[in-house]
Symmetry: C2
Subunit: 337 residues, 2 copies
DNA sequence: ACGTCTCTTGCACACGTGTGCAAGAGTCAG
DNA sequence: CTGACTCTTGCACACGTGTGCAAGAGACGT
């Protein structure tokens, strides 16, 4: 059996379909009594308005597209949760797409979003390469970037204050007495990495410590290479007394590599991360890190987007603050070092 | 500037809109030469067909709805990744919704899916309460449940063979020499928990060991309560020599609680989980667990769904096998115990 | 009685796409 | 030359909803 349409209800109520449309929309143009009758019939029939038909005439879909590199990344998942929660409150639906960092996949995603006439797009933690950015900009819907590289003038963005958060974490480490602090960054040159490295460097200089280039390593943001980088750092003499990792995943690998080599964290060497993923509380030892308010950032991105969709202007560059979370992976350096 | 429609292209090509429609659909009814011209114009205009208009007439949306309790759950995230990947191959889009286990949210989600005329629905790891199940069943689209409680006759489902996987893990522990094995389950009575407990019990009996009820604890599937349950188990005399946790999250909490109390895993006590979440490799020590092929299960659920959408019949009950993953959280029990 | 104003309703069109049917042009056999 | 057939195209309608406009009904003041 087919779904009931507005016409079926009209027939049952002995009115025209226009009246039904108005009644269900709560228009004041329709007699309260007939409106009540119509609503009752709609209820009984289990009527559901067709979003497609509606969007065809209103040219709004009440839908937003969200593209992430992969939803299996805990950071992306938390952000998407925040987005979807907020979208739900505004009666928007979210279409989720994984780009897997594949260019061909990215263009397919944008194409799909265009066909679906999404009202807006949120791009999370993508590198947004040159061609991708161009493709995106050609679509006429508002776009909000979240923690992306290269925020450009035509797109809005929500970001954490990487520089300041990074510097705060570094100050904490330096305050503990550390003088030889290593940094494991990201070789793909994300803007977030660049900024965090900037904070690292600024803090060192602020404390009168020079930048030792051999203490700077690059990984890929995942545990595996984080571990390899940490292992390499352990071979250096003098050995760094603390390692600041670009993100928690990298730190996770570092912790594992260090522990496997028989050293203890933080007794022999301190480790800090960035993100405060859920698992940071359950690593061994629990990880000192910088908390990014991921859900709130997702929510913020969506709020910005709906504001844009409603034709309103919005702050083009929203920045949120990180929060230093001290756990047990950091401590003052050993006496003898 | 508005998006180009099929009519705009028709005007530019001096043909009717029907011809354009056919040409772009690759129909053999249209002259190859004109088809080429039309396609070229469509390309230049950056034409994108309106999914809404199309779905209005074809009454198919090429869209599926996926509802999870929360995408922040790593299990759900992996499953959704598998679903979306497969959906992409079939040119379906996925609408993601978090129910947060709130009944009012669930009915809102289903309502939204109905309005969007999704072609099918996948429900992941939900309890699917009685009223929810009823609501779902009334919607006329095919539904596939993934690791859900109470798979019922009118819905298809994809599940892991919990019983067999659980028994295999238990046999492994027993084979190591363990005789006092505790179980931390889930107090909400998920079917998966019931089945895993069934495997636990069957393995004990198969080895001639009785079920010691004081060794069976209940948590909520999250680390916090897993830790509390483990702490309570440590107080028992004789103390269990191994703990089998309902899922990895619970095991994570158990590991933490045990380590904090100065005991070592696996030297003093063994711990095993279930799921093989990403973080199981990076816990301390790395966790012995049962791997669920989460992405494949997601993919399988989607394949089943599209088969159903295409009117074909499909196996109503798909079951996949788990795989025992032995890491470093399990070892033979201490000599003196 | 008449004009005006308010309240309520229906008509008709628009949105963008797909498709059955007919019709025109061209081809070919008889 | 005629009829049948193929190839290609356009007409017209359908899908389900929203909305400007007109029109009818009733109330009210003059």
């Amino acid at each position: 059996m087919k779904r009931a349409s507005i016409k079926d209800i009209a027939r049952l109520a002995n009115v025209s379909h226009s009246t039904v449309s108005r009644a269900l929309a709560g228009s004041s143009l329709v007699n309260p009594e007939t409106a009540g009758k119509i609503r009752k019939i709609a209820e009984q029939t289990g009527y559901r308005p067709s979003a497609a038909a509606r969007s065809l005439v209103t040219s709004r879909s009440a839908t937003i597209g969200v593209v992430v590199t992969t939803i299996a990344d805990p950071f992306a998942a938390e952000v998407v949760l925040g987005i979807e929660d907020a979208a739900n409150e505004h009666n928007y639906s979210v279409i989720l797409a994984n780009s897997n960092a594949l260019p061909e996949r990215e263009v397919k995603v944008v194409r799909s979003f265009e066909e679906r006439r999404v009202d807006g797009i949120i791009v999370t933690s993508s590198r947004v390469g040159a061609t991708y950015a161009e493709t995106l900009s050609q679509t006429q819907v508002p776009i909000v970037l979240l923690n992306n590289q290269h925020p450009s003038e035509f797109m809005h963005s929500v970001m954490i204050d990487n520089f300041e958060a990074s510097r705060e974490l570094m100050r904490y480490l330096i305050g503990l007495g550390h003088r030889r602090i290593a940094y494991i960054g990201d070789r793909y040159g994300y803007q977030s990495d660049t900024e965090r490295f900037g904070g690292y460097r600024a803090a060192l200089e602020g404390a009168g410590l020079g930048l030792n280039k051999s203490y700077v390593m690059l990984g890929d943001g995942k545990p595996e290479e984080g571990g390899e980088a940490a292992a390499a750092l352990l071979e250096l003499r003098p050995r760094p007394t603390a390692i600041f990792c670009y993100n928690d995943m990298t730190a996770l690998g570092a912790l594992k590599a260090i522990t496997e080599r028989g050293l203890r964290v933080p007794a022999d060497i301190s480790v800090a991360g960035f993100d405060d993923l859920f698992l940071a509380r359950y690593s061994f030892p629990p990880l000192t890190t910088v908390r990014q308010p991921m859900r709130e950032m997702g929510r913020l991105a969506l709020e910005t987007l709906v504001q844009l969709c409603d034709g309103g202007e919005s702050q083009p560059f929203v920045q949120v603050a990180g929060e230093l979370i001290v756990r047990e992976s950091t401590a003052p350096p050993k006496e003898d070092s």
